[in-house]
Each structure stands twice: as C-alpha cells, then as structure tokens.
C-alpha cells in the first residue's frame, strides 16, 4: 500500500531533465544510481534501453517519464512493459510534439476494438 514514497524517473533531453529536476524529482548520491538520464546526440540506444530497463527493475520508482522520440527508439522495450508500476508516461519534446497514435498505452486501448467484436 502507501508506504515509503517512490521516485519519479525521467529519460529526456537536457531541457526536459532540467525542468523536472527543477521540480525536485532528482536523486543523485554515491550510494545509488541517479533516477534521470540526459539523452544527448551521442547517447547510444543501448544505453537508453539499459537505463530504462534498470528503472523498471528498481522497486523504488513509481513513474518513468520519457520523451516520445526517445521512446520510439526503444519502442519494443516499452511495449513489453505491461505492469502497472512503474507507470510509463510519454511526453513531447521540443522538436517532436506529442503524437497520440504512437503512445503505447493508447495504442493498446485503441486496439481493443476490431470489426470482429461487433458482428
């Protein structure tokens, strides 16, 4: 139930991370890995995927915020996450506005209805 609070993690470009860190979600110390990843032009897809999977594996993270264009790079990993916690929220980035048709959650919800269901 509601015990010790969980963290909010973020995987995003510099401005997105700066904004959320200003909001107070950041955790950085010697004992644990940080709960945020600043994705730059030279950040590899492998690193992004590993960080995302590490966030999912941690039991102290409740929500993962990720820019949608970064989510597209690791779509298979996001689609494979079906647990309720941590919740994965796709957010827009400066160069790429939010596209509901690409959102994993909405695609799953949209996919429930097919022509067969109404015959």
């Amino acid at each position: 139930m509601a015990g010790r609070g969980k963290l909010i993690a973020v995987i995003g470009d510099e401005d997105t991370c700066t904004g959320f860190l200003l909001g107070g979600i950041g955790e950085l110390n010697k004992n644990r890995k940080p709960n945020f990843l600043v994705v730059e032009k030279d950040t590899s897809v492998t690193e992004i995927e590993e960080t995302f999977k590490s966030f999912l594996a941690r039991n102290d993270i409740g929500i993962v915020l990720i820019n949608q264009f970064i989510a597209e790079m690791i779509r298979h990993a996001i689609d494979g996450h079906v647990q309720s916690i941590p919740a994965v929220l796709e957010i827009p980035s400066k160069e790429h506005p939010y596209d509901a048709s690409k959102d994993s959650i909405l695609r799953r919800a949209k996919g429930m209805f097919s022509a067969e269901d109404f015959r």
Binding site: I8, D15, F20, L22, G23, N29, A109, M112
Partner: protein
C-alpha cells in the same frame, strides 16, 4: 450481462476523454516550462542554464505513493517534502566566524597618531580572544535545497516560472498515470465481457441451427425459433 458491458464501455469512453484532456494540459504546461527555461538561458547565458549546473548531490523533494485498488487499478499520489523554514531548532545552527571590528557605534574618523596604535592593539586583542559568533542556518551544506539555487543566488523570474510549471507537470503526471492504469484495466474487463458474449451467442446460434433446420435464418430469427420451441441454452 449486456447492461454491465454497456456501463463499462461508457466508463472506458469517459476515461479516454478525461485522459486526452489531462494530456493536453500536461503538454501545454511542459511547453510553457521549456519556453521559460529558454528565456532564462537567454538572459543568463547558454552555459549558465544547462546540465553543467546540476548539483553533485541531489535529494528528491517530491515522491509518489502508489495504492493498488480492489478492481486492479492503481492510484498515484504525489507528496512534496516541505523545505525547512527559517524557524529551525538550534541543533541546525552552526557557529560562523564573524571577522571584523567588534566595537559598537560609529568610529571616530579623526584619530590622533597616539590613539591609533592603542586602538589597533585593543582590536587585535579582541580578535585574539575569539571572533564574535553569529549562528547561521546550515543551508549551504544541506543538499536538500531548492534546485533553483544550482543556477545562482539571484535567478531571473523565467527560471522560477519554469520551476512552477514543472511542479504542476509532476502533479498532473501522477493523475495521468492513474488514468492510464484505469483505462487499461477497463479495457481488459471489456474484452473479457465481449469474449463471453461472443461465446454465448455462438453457442446460441449452434443450438438454434440444430433445432431449426433452415440454416438461412439470421441469428435473431434463430433466437425467436428457440424461444418458440422453448429451448434452454
């Protein structure tokens, strides 16, 4: 069965509509936040608003609590830690040296040559005794400080506005996470109930075909036929 299915369907549609509205608000708040950061960067300089300013140690000021409900949905609540105010206990106060002239009142500007070396001696004596201590808050050494201070003591208003926007985004994120969980759970229930109805209709159609020889009848006609023959499915 059908009535329950319709109620769930309506709830699903309502949840989707609410999710869409919250998303729009979230996206516009995020864009507002970026715009404020850009304005702050313009006034402070490119290098003064970047990842280089992040603190080497950070303590989270906001956390999220999760609560699993009986229907399988999960609720998310944010909790913001209130930073320590000026009214603190004396344990948090550290003595800080205050080096300077200890004498009270105005100093005489026009001093004679004889007086000045004496005065200097007394001042040295006073400082040798021990500087006057002024208790000061332990803010500089406390990592749980406002992240705004990473960017300087006096930050421009746009940076504060950016912080305020992103704080609201964080609150909304918890609401959207809860809505997503509700949408997926309701979708699962609807799929199950639709699958059940489909199966029951198929079995109804099968038994109707057995009793009513004409296979050209539609499902509704077959149902009527069953009702007339009083067949229990």
């Amino acid at each position: 069965m059908r009535v329950n299915g319709n109620i769930e369907l309506l709830r699903f549609m309502d949840l989707l509509e609410l999710l869409e509205k919250k998303r729009e608000t979230l996206n516009s708040l995020i864009e507002q936040g970026w715009f404020s950061i850009t304005k702050a960067r313009y006034s402070m300089g490119n290098k003064h608003v970047s990842a280089l300013q992040y603190a080497s140690e950070m303590v989270p000021l906001v956390c999220v609590h999760t609560k699993a409900l009986e229907n399988g949905e999960v609720q998310f609540f944010t909790e913001r830690h209130i930073q320590k105010s000026s009214a603190e206990s004396s344990d948090d106060l550290l003595p800080v040296e205050d080096i300077g002239p200890q004498e009270e009142g105005l100093r005489r500007r026009n001093k004679t040559k004889k007086d000045t070396p004496e005065k200097k001696d007394t001042e040295v004596a006073k400082t040798a005794k021990g500087p006057e201590v002024n208790p000061v808050r332990k803010i500089d050494q406390n990592p749980q400080q406002d992240p705004l201070k990473w960017f300087g003591i006096l930050v421009p208003q746009p940076l504060k506005q950016a912080q305020s926007s992103f704080k609201q985004v964080i609150e909304l994120s918890a609401e959207i996470a809860a809505l997503q969980s509700a949408v997926l759970r309701t979708r699962q229930k609807l799929r199950l109930s639709l699958a059940k109805e489909l199966n029951s209709e198929k079995s109804l159609g099968k038994s109707a075909k057995e009793k009513c020889p004409t296979s050209d009848l539609t499902v509704s006609e077959q149902k009527e036929c069953i009702q007339q023959n009083k067949i229990v499915v």
